[in-house]
């Protein structure tokens, strides 16, 4: 597993492919389009990365998922190969769309085979796009609108969640929220920061998030949400 890309970029894409060559390729394509990229080689690793919990779907009363189940690292889009041993891209798509906390993440399926019934099945199950492999730079232009859509949707949702959390945790909210402690920063920071992602929920499990990132990527030295300090 590898996290790469500019951590300042706004969107984080999780790419799933069992072929190493194709992972290299999709990673480069996405990075060239200035997305932040995490690659994994199987559907089950993708679910693990997303913090998926099997039983959460059995609780339809909590449409946003409980805060405990909230995904550890924000992922704005999943792009997955269709044909993989074990869990296929289609299986992964179904799991994501059945999960209350993950279903808003747009999913794009890639396949080397142009099988109309397969394409229809994926789109009906909720895939946003179906790309024929090899994927090209021009295909990636079609990703952004899906991420924008979800970004807005999530923002609304998290606003409501923030409300709930601030009611429950009003004591904790008294103390000012600390930005992630400064770490050695090898690269100079630019003057202008892109608009940061919705802030409060991120703070809420920041330590967990950081711990996970460190576990995943020893070479990552900067906290992901550099924009936060400028906001609070």
């Amino acid at each position: 597993m590898a996290i790469t890309g500019d951590s300042r970029s706004q969107f984080h894409v999780l790419a799933v492919d069992d072929s190493l060559i194709d992972r290299k390729l999709i990673e480069r394509l996405l990075k060239t389009s200035s997305y932040q990229v995490t690659t994994v080689d199987s559907g089950s690793k993708a679910l693990k990365f997303l913090g998926f919990q099997e039983d959460e779907q059995s609780n339809p009363d909590t449409p946003f998922g409980s805060p405990n189940n909230h995904q550890e690292v924000e992922v704005n889009l999943i792009i997955t190969d269709y044909c993989m041993p074990g869990m296929t891209g289609y299986d992964l798509l179904k799991k994501v769309k059945e999960s209350s906390s993950l279903r808003n993440i747009p999913v794009v399926i890639m396949s080397s085979e142009n099988v109309p019934s397969r394409i229809t099945r994926c789109l009906e199950e909720g895939a946003e796009e179906f790309f024929l492999k090899p994927v090209r730079l021009s295909d990636l232009n079609r990703l952004k609108p899906h991420m924008m859509k979800t970004k807005i949707k999530n923002q609304k949702q998290e606003d409501q969640e923030e409300l709930k959390i601030s009611e429950i945790q009003s004591d904790e909210q008294q103390q000012p929220v600390q930005p992630p402690s400064p770490q050695p920063q090898p690269q100079p920071q630019p003057e202008s920061q892109p608009p940061p992602p919705p802030a409060l929920l991120l703070q809420h499990n920041n330590n967990k998030r950081k711990a996970m990132e460190e576990g995943l990527s020893p070479d990552r030295t900067r906290p992901r949400y550099n924009g936060i300090p400028t906001m609070v």
């Binding site: 072929s19 060559i21 390729l25 480069r28 060239t32 090899p134 090209r136 730079l137």
Partner: protein, 154 residues
């Protein structure tokens, strides 16, 4: 050879690989993805392709030597080979794989064995071409020049 000469040789050689159908437009996509921040991208992906291909060729040779051929296995290997060759733009290898899969579906042993020979031959051919191309690129860079990518399109 001086840099300008090597650069012209590179343009000519690359064009000939496209013209003769060893490589297709997908290889140009790879070249587009290579820049100063990733100067070895093409060489890295190409060497992954070599590793992958040689493993698959060995597996295919083994499976097709068996008394009872497991055509499902053959098809799975050829499917992978088709995927990696099309990701790299190795057009002749990719086309061999398409024919290979058809014989596999028919469970045609003769056809499969012929395809294996063909795909082996085309793979080793494109391998030597790609190695020569990358060697030339390394010589250009070592001599302080840059890869004249823009001249390919003119």
């Amino acid at each position: 050879m001086e840099v300008g000469q090597m650069q012209r040789a590179w343009v000519e050689y690359t064009r000939s690989l496209f013209r003769e159908g060893f490589l297709d437009a997908q290889f140009q996509q790879l070249q587009l993805l290579q820049d100063e921040s990733n100067p070895d991208f093409v060489a890295e992906v190409v060497s992954l392709f070599f590793e992958d291909s040689e493993r698959l060729l060995a597996d295919l040779t083994f499976v097709l030597e068996q008394q009872n051929i497991d055509f499902k296995k053959v098809d799975a290997h050829v499917h992978q080979f088709k995927g990696s060759s099309s990701s790299i733009g190795a057009q002749r290898v990719k086309n061999d794989c398409i024919a290979f899969r058809n014989f596999c579906e028919e469970q045609n042993i003769e056809g499969c064995l012929r395809c294996l020979q063909q795909v082996k031959q085309d793979y080793y051919l494109v391998k030597s071409k790609l190695e020569a191309l990358i060697r030339l690129e390394q010589q250009i860079v070592a001599a302080g020049g840059s890869i004249p990518m823009e001249e390919l399109s003119s």
